[in-house]
């Protein structure tokens, strides 16, 4: 099978965020803006023939902030001189050095900027272009590619703003509806599953079923965080998010209660002079507390599923 060659040439490096990255690529007749969530890539193409302008704007100078951050990192590193333990010295030196290195790298990359690309129907922020140095390199490449197709625009042909029909600059873009997804339903289903695990654990305490809860409860927390982060502009439902907030409080109480129970068991054993092995199961929790944890999960899961169905 002949090896497939790509028509794309890389224009910028990856602009990385916690949720993914974005990058610019150049094809013979268009620019490709790739936005990746690591598991899915989203593509936006801008035909070179349709690009009206590129606008590069410097942003507010952050040098004072960077100097302050460097000073704070140095002070943090100097704490190593005041502590006596070897672990403490290594901890403060390593974390402080990382902080200083981040500030130095940021300074070395030069001033920041924003780059916008205009077509007749869109104004797109090119997120991968965040530094003036990158923007200048990009401009040289793109100018060559665009002018090869469109030609250059002489100064005497620049249209006066008054002659161009324009949108007001503060006109909000039309909203693009996004599906709300099924993350809340998944969460409420997990509540019910965890409640079932708790009840099984109460009935069969030696089966070690509750060990799975350390993972699934962590899953609950992760899903709640993701659901709350994804909500703005996507999911107009309200009641289910109220249930989620209630769940956070209950999960916090469960964690506190479990920690307190464990501490009580350990101190009681110490008072009696017994040595106890660390027990990862929920046996230290007691039946009453486990019933509470199962009860609120059944209530939140059932009510949440019902509310998400009614509100959808």
């Amino acid at each position: 099978m002949p090896k497939r060659t790509s028509i794309y040439r890389r224009l910028t490096g990856r602009k990385r965020t916690l949720a993914g990255y974005s990058q610019l690529w150049l094809a013979p007749d268009h620019i490709l803006l790739v936005k990746s969530s690591r598991l899915v890539e989203h593509y936006q193409r801008f035909a070179l023939a349709d690009i009206q302008s590129l606008v590069i704007t410097t942003v507010v100078d952050r040098t004072p902030l960077e100097i302050g951050a460097a000073g704070a990192a140095i002070l943090w590193t100097l704490i190593a001189l005041t502590v006596t333990s070897l672990f403490g010295k290594i901890f403060f030196v390593v974390t402080g050095a990382i902080g200083i290195a981040l500030v130095v790298i940021d300074l070395a990359r030069g001033p920041r900027c924003r780059c916008h690309l205009y077509t007749a129907v869109s104004r797109e922020l090119l997120a991968p272009v965040g530094r003036v140095r990158t923007a200048q390199k990009l401009l040289i490449e793109l100018r060559k590619a665009i002018e090869a197709i469109q030609g250059a625009l002489p100064a005497d042909r620049i249209p006066l703003e008054t002659q161009r029909p324009v949108l007001p600059f503060d006109a909000p873009p039309p909203e693009v509806p996004q599906p709300p997804g099924y993350l809340p339903e998944l969460l409420f289903g997990l509540f019910l599953a965890n409640a079932a695990l708790l009840l099984v654990d109460i009935r069969f305490p030696h089966a070690q079923i509750s060990n799975a809860l350390f993972t699934t409860v962590f899953g609950e927390i992760v899903i709640i965080i993701f659901a709350l982060m994804r909500r703005p502009g996507r999911d107009p439902r309200r009641i289910i998010y109220g249930v989620m907030i209630f769940s956070i409080v209950c999960i916090g109480w469960d964690a506190f209660d479990l920690g307190r129970s464990f501490f009580e068991v350990v101190t009681e054993a110490a008072r009696r002079g017994n040595s106890i092995a660390y027990d990862t199961s929920l046996n230290v929790w007691g039946q009453r507390r486990a019933l509470f944890a199962a009860g609120w999960r059944i209530a939140a899961g059932g009510f949440g599923l019902l509310a998400s169905y009614m509100e959808r």
Binding site: V40, Q52, Y118, T215
Partner: protein, 196 residues
Amino acid sequence: MAHAICCGTCSWPIPPEAWNREDVVRCPGCRQKVEVVAFPAIERTRAGPLPEALAADTEASCFYHAESRAVVPCDQCGRFLCGLCDLEIDGRHLCPVCFQSGLVSNQLEVAETSRPMWDSIALATATLPVLLFWPAIIGAPTALYFVVRRWNAPLSILPRTRIRFYLAALFALAEIAGIVFLVWAIVRLPGRTRAS
């Protein structure tokens, strides 16, 4: 309608006098440095061709606009199209319906707006569950399934190797071997608890 050329920081409109200048220009609103590079496309007031009205009854009309003159047939379904309905994609003329069906069936790579990265999904399924240990029992076979099922699925439209698929398969097989060994070890352990 075109967008006004605005400052990227404060959204203040940048006047045409400040476009395509060699010297440093500052935004009238926030005083930040702005560089506007305009191209001839900015002179265009509309983006696409307008349909032409039928001049005579003998002329072919657009399938979707009976009052407009057909200029080209759809390369997919053969329907006659006016200038408004004609979508030229990668040298082919398509009607909006064929364009939409091509998008849905992922046959138009040049118009594709998103693509799942099955190799990254397989790798994530193989590696992330291990962090919580027991979900690897489900994660490893699932990763293997993705590797086998999606091996020939198109990857990114950008240059990309199959190294993630190989790694996912390697991790998944290692995890499955580890799980099998663990089960074997538990079964074969001297029955201290059973004996007691």
